[in-house]
């Protein structure tokens, strides 16, 4: 696999309609590959913006009683960082790479509804612009936290326009997400190539399918809550205003009724990426295919009934808390099944540690850490102690950064050759990987301790208590290393796009259909879709004497 087959020099850097080049072919495109790449470019932009916001916060927290930025700006930064990373980086990245890959993986020409696909993308862009436009209003960006609890986000408490732009932007993005969920479901059900039964579907496509169902089930919940919040703020309705008969708790139920399934929307496609990368780089088929797919469905269903574990501190009663604690802990079972499956896939395999595999293995370790702290705080007494402290911040960064984002990096390095026709630099990839792992763990491991020592999240500064300054310094140094790693990542992308080694059709010797076509794929994706008689059609093609069962 280390030997790259020699192929003719690439003349077409990215897929585009041949007759006319230029910006318009992208802006007006309804080709799933172009839309997918536009998703990735836009999310990279938002990733850099959200990262800068995080770095500014870490610099403010580098020492006690620091006055680098004001409390008002700090509030805006953590609100925008959270909102950006969740709704404008991880979610659209996973949707976007799904849009790029799903038709290729199922041997289709395009998505079922190419125009709807473009609509989803541009609604996401519109949402991002609406959100960031708030910086230009008189009083700045929203400053009420990424979940914008009422009544704080209501008009009497937040007179500026921030939360209005926040809700409008997320409303637009959310409608786009429902549309792409619908599009994916219909595409996966109706456009599979003959022979590609549901039991032979690549696991990444399985995860996108379950995620898409979650999208269409839970996005309307938050859409209704945003509509209500906007009516409250703009027309004087009283949904979430306790002073005039409304209920602030209702907003929390609506928000987390969406918000918890949302974290599975953020992690299931990441599981899909890992389920593609680990077998290929272990040179073994996935261990327990049915269990990986089935446990995903189980996670999807369970995730709909656990939302109130975000609300233990509200005081909803012991029976209520016990129900949601048990339901939340149950999710550890299907998730644990997956971790065991991935480990068993590597067991006895001929493991090749290229950059995608490095990130996949690191994903396994970091995600398990985040999962374990998650099971801990699913217990109400522990949650009462840890809630709204840096322990929670550490927990969800281990799942969303150590989980989703590590998988995203694995996916970028894995599919970059397919998208661009060129290999990413392995040397820069390793620098990126090790700096990410070191920076990430330096930043967030100590935050468990700071949190347990009582440092609340979302405060712009802190007193000089024993060890607090030292640990925050470690965390900030880690975050700066992360910043450096991102620069290397972007540098790798840019230089490899220009002068990477030609990749050929299947540089990793993978087995799913997207590797059967050229890199980058032609506008029509396939001249001929290979026959599918098993889960690994390209293995069968390469080894006709010993095909998969």
């Amino acid at each position: 696999m280390s030997r790259i087959p020699l192929v003719p020099e690439i003349t077409e850097p990215l897929p585009s309609i041949r007759e006319s080049e230029g910006l318009l072919t992208w802006v007006a495109s309804i080709d799933h590959k172009q839309i997918g790449i536009m998703y990735l470019i836009a999310t990279l932009f938002f990733f850099l913006v959200g990262g800068i916001e995080a770095l500014l916060m870490r610099i403010q927290l580098i020492r006690p009683e620091n006055d680098f930025i004001s409390p008002e700006v700090f509030n805006q930064l953590f609100t925008m960082h959270g909102t950006t990373m969740i709704f404008f980086v991880v979610m659209p990245f996973l949707i976007g790479i799904g849009v790029y890959l799903v038709p290729l993986m199922i041997g289709a020409r395009d998505m079922a509804f190419p125009r709807l696909n473009a609509l989803s993308y541009w609604l996401f862009v519109l949402g991002g612009l609406l959100l960031y436009f708030s910086f230009f209003t008189q009083s700045g960006a929203p400053d009420v936290g990424w979940f914008a609890y009422t009544p704080l986000s209501e008009k009497p408490f937040t007179l500026n326009k921030g939360p209005t732009y926040w809700a409008l932007g997320l409303l637009a993005t959310g409608i786009g997400s429902v549309a792409s969920g619908l599009n994916n479901i219909v595409t996966i059900i109706t456009l599979r190539t003959p022979g590609l039964t549901m039991r032979r579907l690549p696991l990444f496509v399985w995860m996108i399918l379950v995620t898409s169902f979650l999208l269409i089930f839970v996005m309307p919940i938050i859409t209704s809550a945003f509509a209500m919040l906007l009516l409250d703020r703009l027309l004087g309705a009283t949904f979430f205003m306790p002073a005039t008969g409304g209920s602030a708790i209702l907003y929390q139920h609506f928000f987390w009724g969406f918000g918890h399934p949302e974290v599975y929307i953020l992690i299931l496609p990441a599981f899909g990426i890992i389920s593609e990368v680990i077998p290929v780089f272990s040179r073994k088929p996935i261990y327990g295919y049915e269990f990986v797919a089935g446990s995903t469905v189980a996670i999807g269903l369970l995730s709909l009934g656990v939302w109130a574990h975000h609300m233990f501190a509200v005081g909803l009663g012991n029976v209520f808390n016990a129900f949601f604690a048990i339901a939340s802990m149950l999710i550890a079972i299907p998730t644990g099944i997956k971790v065991l499956n991935w480990t068993a896939t590597m067991w006895g395999g001929k493991i090749h540690f290229a950059t995608p595999m490095l990130f996949a293995v690191a994903f396994l370790i970091e995600f398990v850490v985040g999962g374990l702290s998650g099971v801990a705080i699913a217990s109400p007494p522990i949650d009462w102690q840890a809630t709204d402290t840096y322990f929670i911040v550490a927990h969800f960064h281990y799942t969303l950064f150590g989980g989703s984002l590590f998988a995203i990096f694995a996916g970028v390095y894995y599919w970059f050759p397919k998208m661009s026709g060129r290999m990413p630099s392995e040397r820069l990839g390793r620098w990126h990987f090790w700096l990410t792992v070191i920076g990430f763990n330096l930043t967030f491991l100590v935050q468990h301790l700071i949190g347990l020592m009582g440092m609340p999240r979302r405060v712009y500064t802190y007193h000089d208590l024993p060890y607090w300054g030292d640990m925050n310094l470690i965390s900030t140094v880690g975050s700066l290393i992360l910043g450096l790693s991102v620069i290397i990542f972007v540098w790798n992308i840019i230089t490899s796009l220009r002068s990477g080694m030609p990749a050929g059709n299947n540089p990793w010797k993978a087995w799913t259909l997207e590797w059967a076509t050229t890199s980058p794929p032609p506008v029509h994706n396939f001249d001929l879709v290979p026959p599918v008689n098993s889960r690994r059609p390209l293995w069968d093609l390469a080894h006709p004497d010993m095909p998969d069962k």
Partner: protein
């Protein structure tokens, strides 16, 4: 049901609309839950009991129910390749839908004249939001029906099948079904 590429029992357009209304149902479910949540908590000011007229709204609801019937007949005419009757049934569906919206407009104007508005109390908030979003969906349905009618008059939809007519029909039945639930929750619950 076999989910195989060349043997799907449902075509992609109707499948899209069906999953779309699943998503929409959850949206309306949340609005209805908000209404139900506050139903007993209004202590003073307007409530469903003291400000709504179930008979009048009930009569206008019949128009919407009837429109489900007429669009079903429109689908039948399409199957029988009866192009003229298809246009007639589509036109009737639109007229019935417009009548329903007119009735809702009358009701809203009457309430607003009594100073019952979205910012008066929780009843006003939940009532106007729920019926408003439903009315918005009726309006969207009417726009789609008008496009269908225009295309039909221009000569489209010769039958026996049309994804466009059937998909809009599925959506229209859904809008109708939502109203049955909304009417039951707001009007019947208050008065029965």
């Amino acid at each position: 049901m076999r989910f195989n590429a060349r043997n799907t029992y449902m075509n992609k357009n109707k499948m899209l609309v069906s999953f779309f209304i699943v998503s929409e149902s959850i949206f309306f479910l949340m609005l209805i839950l908000a209404y139900v949540n506050f139903h007993r908590s209004v202590t003073d000011g307007p409530t469903a009991e003291n400000s709504l007229n179930p008979i009048k709204t009930g009569i206008f609801s019949l128009f919407l129910l009837a429109s489900s019937l007429t669009i079903w007949f429109a689908g039948k005419s399409l199957q029988r390749k009866n192009h003229f009757m298809l246009c007639i049934w589509l036109l009737l569906t639109i007229l019935l839908g417009v009548t329903f919206l007119f009735g809702q407009g009358l009701e809203w104007v009457g309430l607003i004249k009594q100073d019952i508005t979205i910012n008066r109390n929780v009843f006003g908030t939940t009532f106007f939001t729920l019926t408003g979003f439903h009315g918005f969906h009726v309006t969207v349905g009417l726009i789609m029906l008008l496009i269908l009618l225009g295309l039909a008059i221009a000569g489209d939809f010769r039958g026996p099948e049309s994804d466009a007519v059937e998909s809009v029909s599925i959506y229209w039945h859904f809008v109708d079904g939502v109203w049955i639930v909304v009417f039951s929750v707001i009007y019947l619950w208050a008065f029965v």
